[in-house]
């Protein structure tokens, strides 16, 4: 049975699109046929992060409106056969996300894919609500700072009240916390919230901690999901998070300050 996963946060700029791309690629690498959909109509970014911006012909809105069929709009990733990208429109706005149209597209995607990742726009308005409405699971992307935690809390509340599962009295959307841009050294200095603080406030299970890493910016700019970068701590942290999502137990890495190696200390490099 296909599973719909929404990647959401309430707050903007916390790493939803990076996470959507990394998670979709991670699931594909694990052998699951996965599609990642951009719900951020008018502010299309996912195609850039996935490196397929030159191949967009038709988009999500075209399919909702019946101007194109699904297979015309889906873009197959060049790096992995199991990975597909469903870009959105840059010229339209969120009002183009008609719920019955989205529902029809979702049903059609469920016939072809094991996992459907919905990259939500920021906010709690129509775009974000539509992105989470059909979800079976949710990944709550949170930065270790108070405003992000509060917005995450708000979106968890919305998942529990406005999702289709909530409206139909079905089992609730299962929510997972993903803490991104985590810098253990700054936590030690008291400049950032610690993992346990965030867990305590949000009281949902922790899927993973993604360390702040320059490889993330590089990955976005080159259009390569960060999980393909095996040397990157962030990439490895995402691989772990995907494994936990699939039910495996993995020890949390990157939550303690890194011990600087002898040579690094000697040459004063961070």
């Amino acid at each position: 049975m296909a599973k719909v996963i929404v990647v959401t946060s309430g707050k903007g700029g916390v790493g939803k699109t990076t996470t959507s791309a990394a998670f979709a690629a991670g699931l594909a690498l694990r052998g699951h046929k996965t599609v990642v959909i951009d719900f951020d109509v008018g502010l299309r970014n996912l195609d850039l992060v996935m490196g397929c911006e030159r191949r967009v012909v038709f988009d999500f809105i075209n399919v909702i409106n019946g101007d194109a069929n699904l297979n015309q709009a889906l873009i197959k990733d060049k790096r992995h056969d199991n990975l597909f990208i469903f870009p959105t429109s840059q010229t339209r706005d969120k009002n183009a996300l008609k719920r019955d149209g989205v529902e029809r597209v979702m049903e059609e995607l469920k016939q072809q894919f094991e996992y459907i990742i919905c990259d939500s726009p920021a906010g709690i308005e129509h775009g974000a609500i539509t992105a989470l409405y059909f979800a079976d699971s949710a990944i709550i992307v949170t930065n270790p700072e108070v405003s992000s935690v509060r917005d995450s809390d708000r979106i968890i509340g919305i998942l529990a009240s406005k999702s289709r599962r909530a409206e139909r009295n079905e089992p609730p959307v299962d929510v997972h916390l993903l803490l991104t841009r985590y810098d253990p050294a700054r936590v030690t200095r008291g400049e950032m919230l610690a993992v346990d603080d965030v867990k305590e406030i949000l009281s949902i299970p922790l899927l993973g901690v993604i360390p702040e890493s320059e490889s993330v910016l590089r990955a976005s700019n080159t259009g390569t999901p960060v999980v393909f970068d095996e040397d990157s701590p962030a990439g490895r942290a995402y691989v772990d998070a995907v494994a936990r999502f699939l039910g495996e137990t993995r020890e949390m890495r990157f939550v303690k300050p890194e011990r600087r190696s002898f040579f690094r200390a000697l040459f004063g490099r961070a």
Binding site: I124, R150, D153, R154, I156, G157, A160, S161, I201, S203
Partner: protein
């Protein structure tokens, strides 16, 4: 739509007026005074007529008269209770419903609502930011934490078996005897019957502590438990 959705059950608090009292001359006066004290509470309030111990009163016309009398006092007669078969016939003809007898109905004071125990509102999931919960006419018990930006409102007491980080307003209907209890106080605002304290006014020794908050001499008083 499923057939089950067409008819739904609901529980209401309804005033019961004893028919025997209606004959006493002082009754009407007393009732008028009571209504005068809280006119909005009694505005169009439904009333059930208790016929216990009243032998006659079987004609539809008599029920109509009582209906008019109560109407003049802003009350709406909706039914009867403890009716004999003949009385029920007359009441039905006057368009009144039959209510099941309540236990101890005979003791209820005329003109006053029977002391129905309002059911406590129980919330077991975390109360998330942006959520507002109102326990109308009852206590509110939360067995999880209340996030910043969430708001609890109750006409009665508020209990939080978790961290209270949002707002809590007890005695919202004006009941100064209401209290707030929590296992850890980190609230943005606490209020009882309109008196309030914001986070920065909370005493330092109460922050993060298990406390109860009550109104003493019109002052919000926080006691560590």
């Amino acid at each position: 739509m499923a057939a089950g959705n067409i008819v739904q059950g609901a529980l209401f608090t309804v005033m019961v007026v004893r028919a025997a009292m209606l004959r006493e001359p002082a009754f009407e006066n007393e009732l008028t005074q009571q209504i005068g004290r809280s006119p909005r509470f009694f505005q169009n309030a439904p009333v059930v007529l208790d016929l216990r111990g009243v032998e006659n009163l079987t004609e539809a016309g008599e029920f109509e008269t009582i209906k008019e009398k109560l109407r003049a006092l802003t009350l709406t007669l909706v039914g009867v209770q403890n009716a004999q078969p003949a009385q029920l016939e007359g009441a039905t003809a006057a368009g009144l419903a039959s209510f099941a007898p309540t236990t101890g109905g005979g003791q209820s004071r005329a003109g006053a609502a029977p002391p129905a125990a309002a059911k406590t509102r129980l919330v077991t999931a975390p109360v998330r930011s942006g959520t507002q919960i109102y326990a109308r006419g009852s206590d509110l018990v939360v067995t999880a934490s209340v996030s910043p930006g969430a708001e609890l409102v109750a006409d009665g007491n508020i209990h939080v078996y978790g961290v209270l980080r949002g707002r809590a307003l007890a005695g919202a209907g004006g009941d100064g005897a209401a209290r707030i209890f929590c296992t850890r106080l980190e609230a943005e605002l606490v209020s009882i019957a309109g008196r309030y304290l914001v986070s920065e006014q909370l005493p330092a020794n109460a922050q993060g502590a298990p406390v109860q908050i009550a109104l003493v001499d019109d002052q919000l008083t926080i006691t560590r438990n």
